[in-house]
Amino acid sequence: MKLLQLPQGDLRERLAGEGIWLRTGPFSIRVTSNLETVAEGLSELYGQFEVRNSREAFADFHVAVNPPSLLRSWFRPQVNFSFDGVEPFKPLPLSQAYPMLEWGLNWCVSVHARQYLIIHAAVVEKNGLAAILPAPPGSGKSTLTAGLVLSGWRLLSDELTLIDRKTGLIHALPRPVSLKNESIPIIRAFSDEAFINRASHDTAKGTVAHMRPPKSSVQRQHEATRPGWVIFPKWTSGAATKLAPRSKAQTFMFLAQNAFNYSHLGADGFRVGITLIEQVDCYDFTYSRLDDAVATFDRLAAAPARVNAPH
């Protein structure tokens, strides 16, 4: 059953009680929360995701988002993220409850799922090949990701590139796309189809909102994909759209440094990283207009199949 098929009252009741069991990509999560904003966020953004009976027996991550205690919430409304009773973060203001759930889920995956080499990068797919978009904050990575998935690219993830250590394929985790500050109005203007939830202001990252993942990306969330490109986007005001080849060695070093768990995998992390880098074309990408950026990506995806298939 999809979450949107669950009556609103049931959703709230389950969320505050036994929890909502959700399947996101390769992971099952059980979320509990007694907060209205969390129920609203889930119902607006996770409608296409599979939910099961709340008595579903096994979940990878049992998480909760709730105010710390009645007394403290009275003089300073706050919210805590808990992973099965462990609170990895300091509490945040109550208004950031929903983004805290998303950040907490990213944390759960990035520190535990060592069956993947996990790179801090967005990843999208077209014509069977994935484009990995690693980039420091402020480079326009999320804006570009949102633009691409609103233009026919499949969303694999906006934060976590999961590379299967056994197959080298990239697994999808198409949870909502996090948008910050100016990218929120840019994406609203870019497409009528974009649904963006209510923004949380004054977070550590500024104003944050989440975009609902496209229905088709969620429906295909169990399809793994071959890596095709590693592209470093950089938004620069007024710049012409430009795709410039980039050194594979440098790209590898950057990916290793920006992987969440490279150092935890020992020699295997190196092997997986090298196998990946041998299969992909690497580029630096400068852009200022989202339409042009999408057009460039579309041309890349339409180019004839390349010869450097995986070995």
Binding site: S28, A57, F58, D60, A113, Q115, G266, D268
Partner: protein, 383 residues
């Protein structure tokens, strides 16, 4: 610590004494009887993974299933949790070996006997207790008279003391058997430098020179030693029952189980252990350690050990009280293993450990400080 201690007598009357370990503790049940997983429902696996993660035993359980040839029984949805934990444990083993090499190099000029303790010792000596072991620090033992040289040498190599209040610094240096933890400036690895295995203020504290004299060298690692098998076991036993906070109590007890099973392969081991325990006056610690390791892990312990330690056993009511405490604090620190007495039991274990570690004239001011002064200071807690 924000609790008062007024509940102590009340607790003693009301704590139920019957069951040894809570029935919901699946982790120790699986270690006692690995084949029990064949009967597990998916709901049992859910609880097992969660409890084992909280107990720090996921990776060791992975190794247990592999050794028993029953890994294929793990349902597909649960398997990655065990494998991912084992991946990290394997990587940490390599990292610990490398880090110990760095420590040895940093101290090479001092020409002192360098002894590694606990987890790092199990890895260096390639003992079964190294299985699935995760590390937050490396413990070393050096002669007390060399402490300041060791600290300077480690500082030159990049380790330094971080983030402790003045009170905690003074507390360590004056009363503890170790100096404050030192963290490497680039790798963020942490070393605990000990000059003894128990504080001087503890009721019984074995002479470190005596422990060092019996230490055994690590093959292929010149200049490095580990404690003798008996001393290693006694250290593990005393550590468990003198440490105030036991977030990994069950993991530590599992270490002890593996250490005992390994050494018990030697025919005269148990008598050697008994006489060494007497020599170091650690009978009471060993009594408790054997009692709980047997209950949680069904470790085979010969009956003559029970008779040898019988005179060191506490009275019946004290023992019942200790059972009520330790069967709770040693269970996995997961809410499915807790009952309404668990937090009181943790508090009791904390107070008891401090009671054993220092005389009342030191203990009361220390607990007062911990309760009221450090309440809102988020710092590593040395005690």
């Amino acid at each position: 610590m924000r609790h008062s201690t007024a509940w102590l007598p009340r607790l003693q009357e009301s704590m139920p004494h019957t069951e040894m370990s809570p029935p919901s503790d699946l982790v120790s049940r699986v270690f006692r009887d690995p084949a029990t997983i064949r009967k597990f429902s998916l709901g049992d696996w859910d609880r097992l993974v969660r409890q084992a993660r909280h107990a720090g035993l996921l990776a060791r359980m992975h190794d247990l299933f592999a050794a028993q040839g029953i890994s294929s029984v793990i349902p597909n949805v649960a398997r990655w949790h065990f494998e991912a934990a084992a991946t990290l444990a394997e990587k940490q083993k390599i990292a610990v070996r490398w880090e110990v090499g760095q420590i040895r190099a940093a101290l090479a000029g001092l020409e002192l006997p360098l002894i590694v303790l606990k987890g790092a010792a199990y890895v260096m000596a390639e003992l079964p207790a190294a299985s699935g072991r995760l590390f937050s620090d490396i413990d070393i033992l050096v002669p007390r008279e060399a402490l300041s040289e060791v600290e300077s040498a480690l500082m030159l190599a990049g380790w330094h003391t971080v983030g402790l209040s003045d009170y905690d610094q003074r507390y360590y240096r004056r009363w503890m058997h170790e100096i404050p933890p030192m963290q490497h400036v680039r790798r963020a690895t942490v070393i605990d430098v000990h000059h003894a295995i128990l504080p001087d203020t503890a009721r019984y504290h074995p002479d470190s020179a005596e422990l060092r004299r019996r230490a055994v060298g690590v093959p292929d690692f010149p200049g490095l030693a580990v404690l003798s098998p008996e001393d290693r076991i006694l250290h593990s036993a005393t550590h468990l029952f003198h440490d105030g906070e036991l977030p990994h109590g069950l993991r530590d007890l599992s270490d002890l189980d593996l250490l005992l099973r390994e050494e018990a392969k030697a025919p005269d081991f148990w008598s050697r252990l008994a006489s060494r325990t007497e020599e170091l006056q650690l009978e009471r610690s060993l009594f408790y350690a054997l009692r709980y390791v047997r209950h949680f892990f069904a470790t085979p312990i010969p009956e003559h050990m029970d008779s040898a330690l019988a005179s060191s056993a506490p009275g019946r009511s004290q023992l019942a009280f200790m059972d009520a405490i330790f069967r709770r604090v040693l269970a996995p620190a997961h809410r499915s293993c807790e009952d309404r007495f668990t937090s009181a039991a943790r508090m009791a274990a904390y107070v008891r450990a401090h009671w054993l570690r220092m005389p009342p004239r030191l203990l009361l001011p220390h607990l007062f400080h911990k309760a009221f002064i450090s309440l809102y200071q988020r710092e590593p807690n040395p005690a």
